[in-house]
């Protein structure tokens, strides 16, 4: 039931916030803060009260209630480590979103918070549901409020951005719906049991051709959401036009639903088709890493720049997912969390700057370190996170991903690693243009105030924690990752498929590694 409460509290809070706007302008903010705090507290409690689960049951809590029995649709929620982590991230960023909007949003406050909470509710649903119909349902539910957030409270070009965001995600989502339906009927014909239950559908045996088509249906939605080049073009617009809270949620959470979908659905549902597609997917990932990095370098709109860095960073996710090993997947999960934090933080800093300067053009900025050293330090931390400096969470994520992807494909990993150099190039440009050099503005930039520090400090603390002691997070994710990988452990991805794409470095002792892996897998520690 607690899972249902999470969603219900958010939705009810949203409605309440909307209504309360009639009474008092500040009330919606407090209601929103209260509801997010409540769900965050509940999730934290769940996390702390559940010791690291043992291997054979990845699922911590399940909730099941028939919904549309005619079609085999249940209101089925379930929580495992992966979902738990995603929820923690969701509510953490949700909390920050409420806080950063405290001063930024001054028009239609009540409706803003309604949308904010409903986006969070939709995202929560996506991370929790184990019924494919319900999944699609939530997948769409989170879009509308997001559309409003961008379209109403966004910057100058908000309508265009909102449209683009909506159309891209909808178009891809519909393809996923077709694939879900295809899977539903195939499974139904096979077993006579027509159901959208994730757990049942996992047992579907698919002809290779069908599997491939269905996989592409799912991929369409997730790759657009992630986003993978060449489906990324909604993202820079949406990210740069959204209000700060919107950008944080977009970059921090909505992109993660794509990654989550890949992990949760694509991997276990289509074990053979994914292996076939893996080299191409990894190639897409690498292209994304490099392409995003190159484009980020030349952007002059700060939020647009950060948006392209997201494209680049999300390339690591798909690279990792299609490596099919635990290191890479742990890296992916870490990347989801750390990227959520670090990019969210960069957007927040962009928001702080925008509030003070009313511009996002970095060519007009410069020399802010002199007057705003606190902001400078915090920006520095997250810029460094974005170029994956060791000691910060992003490094663990990207290093694990690359270690894992190296096992799968050498050359692509090499190019992905080169992406780190490019990350350095664009990241340092951010620091240089904003905080260093001479101040081009007439006015002095006020440093962060107490509220802003309250937002920034937890993020710095989190990113350091994730960088120095990520084990609690890794432990939480482990059982579910192993579950997702079950179909792959029996047969590692055939090297043949990879050598078709790229010449391989000759390696002599790969067998040794496998032995080590096996040994370590049996070892509980």
């Amino acid at each position: 039931m607690i899972l249902v409460w999470l969603i219900v509290i958010l939705m009810a809070g949203g409605v309440l916030a909307w209504i309360s706007g009639k009474i008092n302008r500040a009330l919606p903010r407090w209601i929103a803060l209260g509801s997010v705090l409540a769900v965050f507290g509940m999730t934290l409690y769940l996390w702390l009260s559940n010791p690291i689960p043992v291997l054979d049951s990845a699922w911590l809590i399940q909730f099941n209630q028939p919904w549309i029995p005619q079609w085999g649709i249940d209101f089925r929620l379930a929580l495992d480590g992966l979902s738990l982590l995603m929820l923690l991230l969701t509510f953490f960023l949700g909390l920050l979103s409420v806080l950063i909007s405290w001063r930024e949003i001054q028009t239609k406050v009540a409706f803003f918070h309604f949308n904010l909470l409903w986006v969070l509710a939709g995202i929560t649903g996506v991370f929790l549901t184990m019924d494919l119909f319900l999944f699609y349902f939530f997948w769409e539910v989170m879009l509308i409020p997001m559309y409003f957030l961008i379209g109403i409270w966004g910057h100058e070009n908000r309508r265009y951005a909102a449209f683009k965001f909506f159309l891209f995600t909808q178009a891809s989502g519909l393809l996923m719906l077709l694939a879900i339906l295809g899977l539903y009927f195939i499974h139904g014909r096979q077993t006579g049991l027509y159901t959208f239950s994730y757990f049942e559908l996992l047992n579907t045996t698919l002809a290779p051709e069908a599997a491939r088509l269905l996989m592409f249906g799912f991929l369409a939605a997730f790759l657009v959401k992630l986003p993978v080049v060449p489906f990324h073009s909604w993202l820079p617009d949406a990210h740069s036009q959204a209000p700060t809270a919107g950008s944080v949620i977009l970059a921090g959470l909505l992109l993660k639903t794509g990654a989550y979908g890949l992990l949760r659905f694509v991997l276990p549902l289509f074990p053979t088709a994914t292996v076939e597609f893996a080299p191409w997917a990894m190639l897409l990932g690498v292209i994304g890493i490099i392409y995003g990095a190159i484009l980020a370098f030349s952007q002059t709109d700060l939020k647009r720049l950060v948006a392209y860095t997201s494209v680049s960073h999300m390339g690591f996710v798909i690279l990792g997912v299609f490596s099919f090993n635990e290191w890479a997947l742990q890296g992916v999960v870490m990347q989801m969390i750390t990227h959520g934090l670090s990019t969210g933080a960069l957007f927040i800093i962009a928001g702080f700057l925008y509030e003070r300067l009313h511009t996002r053009d970095i060519q007009k900025m410069g020399g802010f370190w002199t007057t705003a050293p606190k902001m400078g330090v915090i920006a520095l931390v997250f810029v460094m996170a974005s170029l994956s400096l060791p000691g910060l969470g992003n490094f663990i994520a990207e290093f694990l991903t690359l270690v894992g992807s190296w096992q799968a494909n050498n050359w692509l990993t090499v190019f992905a690693t080169i992406g780190l150099v490019m990350a350095t190039i664009y990241s340092l440009r951010i620091m240089q243009k904003i905080f260093f050099e001479a101040n081009r503005m007439e006015q002095a930039l006020p440093d962060l105030n107490a509220r802003e520090m309250l937002i920034a400090i937890p993020m710095v603390a989190m990113i350091l924690w994730l960088g120095l002691y990520p084990q609690p997070f890794l432990d939480t994710a482990r059982p579910s990752i192993q579950e997702q990988l079950q179909a792959y452990t029996a047969s590692p991805p055939p090297p043949v498929a990879m050598s078709q794409l790229t010449p391989q470095v000759q390696l002599t002792d790969t067998i040794r590694l496998n032995q080590i892996l096996k040994a370590s897998r049996h070892d509980p520690d």
Binding site: F163, F166, A171
Partner: protein, 484 residues
């Protein structure tokens, strides 16, 4: 005709009686409110009489009509829709000084026509139903006769409808000529004996499709729709978009299921082309349109295309999908036009996009209702439109009509654009020059019925969107007996 026959035709009789009473009342003295109450009560009564027929099974009134679950459900749908439309009409017509009372008579008559359509099993009853509907509509469309557009729409609809009726009739004649019967069942038997369909019959079917296609406003017979939608008063537009089309679609389904037209690749091909063309043309035409009523017209063209997808599956699931979608579509369309009607003033309807600018801030609840309606049309979850679209897609995937299904998905995206565009206009900031409340309005109490209706519609829409099980059960239960 026996007494039981009359019992089974009770809803129609109630409506007919209401028409007669209305005429008498008008003869005695004009009173808008009384007429309005009579109409609403008669619709309610007719609908209530349907409960008697709920478990009717299949009752045939030889040779013209059949009352079965399918028919009862569709009649119910039509009656409720007509009721809702009449509820919305009151405020709309109250602010117009013209004679308002005959409107309700025409509305009742048109509803009777539609009801006859969906229970007809004979060309004659089909024709009669259709014409009762059409002729009433001619008058309804041009009802606000001082408006140029109303007249233009009326004459366009009249000429074109008569023109298409000629096609339909000629087609019927040819089918009759080649089969020797005008009963659906008889035609089915006759066709079953042919190894290959004779030319005459095919031509007949082809011509009939023209006539039916016109009423459904599918491509390429759709061109009247935007003009008529624009010119007609908003409630009448809602009526055309829902009741008229629903009735025709009902009889089409009945006829096709009866003769099992899905066996003939030619017919399937024609409908496939029509469906795809309707989806594409409808959505593309609506894309940058700035007149809301025209947008809704084009969108209805597209929606008929979607419906045809489910129709083309040619099985029980398809019929259920069509029916479910129709319910959702009816609610949504009535709701949307209801909003249009509510925002209209006595000079003109609120049809330009500009009229909706910043509506969300001026009249948040109206805007919210309209947003929900538009989202339902777009097929976004939490609304009935989503479940309906899902049902259609499911039916399509089930029958593996991949081309149609993919086209549907693609078109949904195009469609999304213009629905969202209206939503975007509503939450735009108001320009300083635009007056917040431009027009003098009636007493708020007059709008009570409209507001209530819209609220009900919205709640219904969300309810079905969130919990469609109930409606699904009803549809499955009612339709199970109907389809052979």
């Amino acid at each position: 005709m026996t007494l039981t026959d009359f019992q089974h035709l009770m809803p129609l009789l109630i409506l007919t009686f209401a028409v007669l009473v209305s005429m008498l009342v008008i003869a005695v003295g004009r009173n808008h409110k009384i007429m309005y109450v009579i109409t609403a009560v008669s619709f309610l009564a007719a609908f209530a009489s349907l409960f008697e027929l709920r478990d009717v099974g299949r009752y045939t009134i030889e040779p013209l009509l059949v009352v079965d679950g399918f028919g009862v459900f569709y009649i119910g749908m039509i009656l409720l829709t007509a009721l809702l439309i009449s509820m919305l009409s009151y405020a709309y017509f109250e602010q117009r000084e013209e004679r308002k009372e005959e409107y309700y008579i025409l509305l009742l008559l048109a509803t009777i026509g539609a009801c006859v359509l969906v229970i007809s099993t004979h060309f004659a009853s089909l024709f009669l139903g259709l014409e009762i509907l059409s002729v009433s509509l001619y008058a309804l469309i041009a009802y606000l006769r001082t408006r140029e557009r109303s007249d233009e729409a009326g004459i366009k609809y009249l000429i074109l409808a008569a023109f298409s009726s000629a096609f339909l009739l000629f087609g019927m004649a040819l089918v009759y000529a080649s089969t020797g019967t005008m009963e659906f069942a008889g035609i089915a038997t006759a066709i079953a004996n042919f190894t290959e369909l004779p030319l005459l019959l095919l031509t007949g079917f082809g011509l009939m499709i023209v006539g039916i296609g016109f009423k459904l406003s599918v491509v390429p017979f759709h061109m009247w729709a935007p003009d008529v939608y624009e010119g007609a008063p908003a409630p009448v537009t809602a009526f055309i978009a829902t009741v008229s089309k629903g009735g025709v679609l009902g009889v089409l389904i009945r006829f096709f299921m009866e003769v099992d037209g899905f066996r003939y690749p030619t017919l399937v091909l024609i409908f496939t082309i029509v469906a795809i063309a309707s989806m594409l043309a409808g959505n593309l035409l609506a894309l940058l349109q700035r007149n809301v009523k025209r947008i809704l017209a084009y969108s209805s063209i597209a929606h008929l295309g979607y419906l045809l997808v489910a129709f083309l599956t040619g099985n029980q699931m398809g019929v259920e999908a069509v029916t479910f979608y129709l319910v959702a579509y009816f609610i949504t369309t009535v709701g949307a036009f209801g909003v249009v009607a509510m925002l209209s003033d006595k000079e003109r309807d609120a049809e330009q996009l500009e009229d909706y600018r910043a509506l969300l801030w001026r009249r948040p609840w109206t805007a919210a209702v309209f947003t929900v309606m538009l989202l339902s049309l777009a097929g976004i979850p939490l609304t009935a439109g989503f479940v309906g679209k899902f049902y259609i897609l499911a039916a399509g995937v089930n029958t593996q009509l991949w081309l149609l299904v993919v086209m549907l998905a693609l078109n949904s995206v195009i469609g999304l654009f213009y629905y969202i565009r209206i939503v975007a206009v509503m939450f735009q900031q108001a320009d300083a020059e635009v007056e917040m409340e431009p027009r003098g309005r009636l007493r708020p109490s007059i709008y009570l019925a409209s507001v209530g209706t819209l609220t009900i519609l919205t709640l219904l829409l969300v309810y079905i969107g969130v919990y469609p099980t109930g409606l699904l059960q009803v549809i499955e239960g009612m339709l199970a007996v109907a389809t052979p």
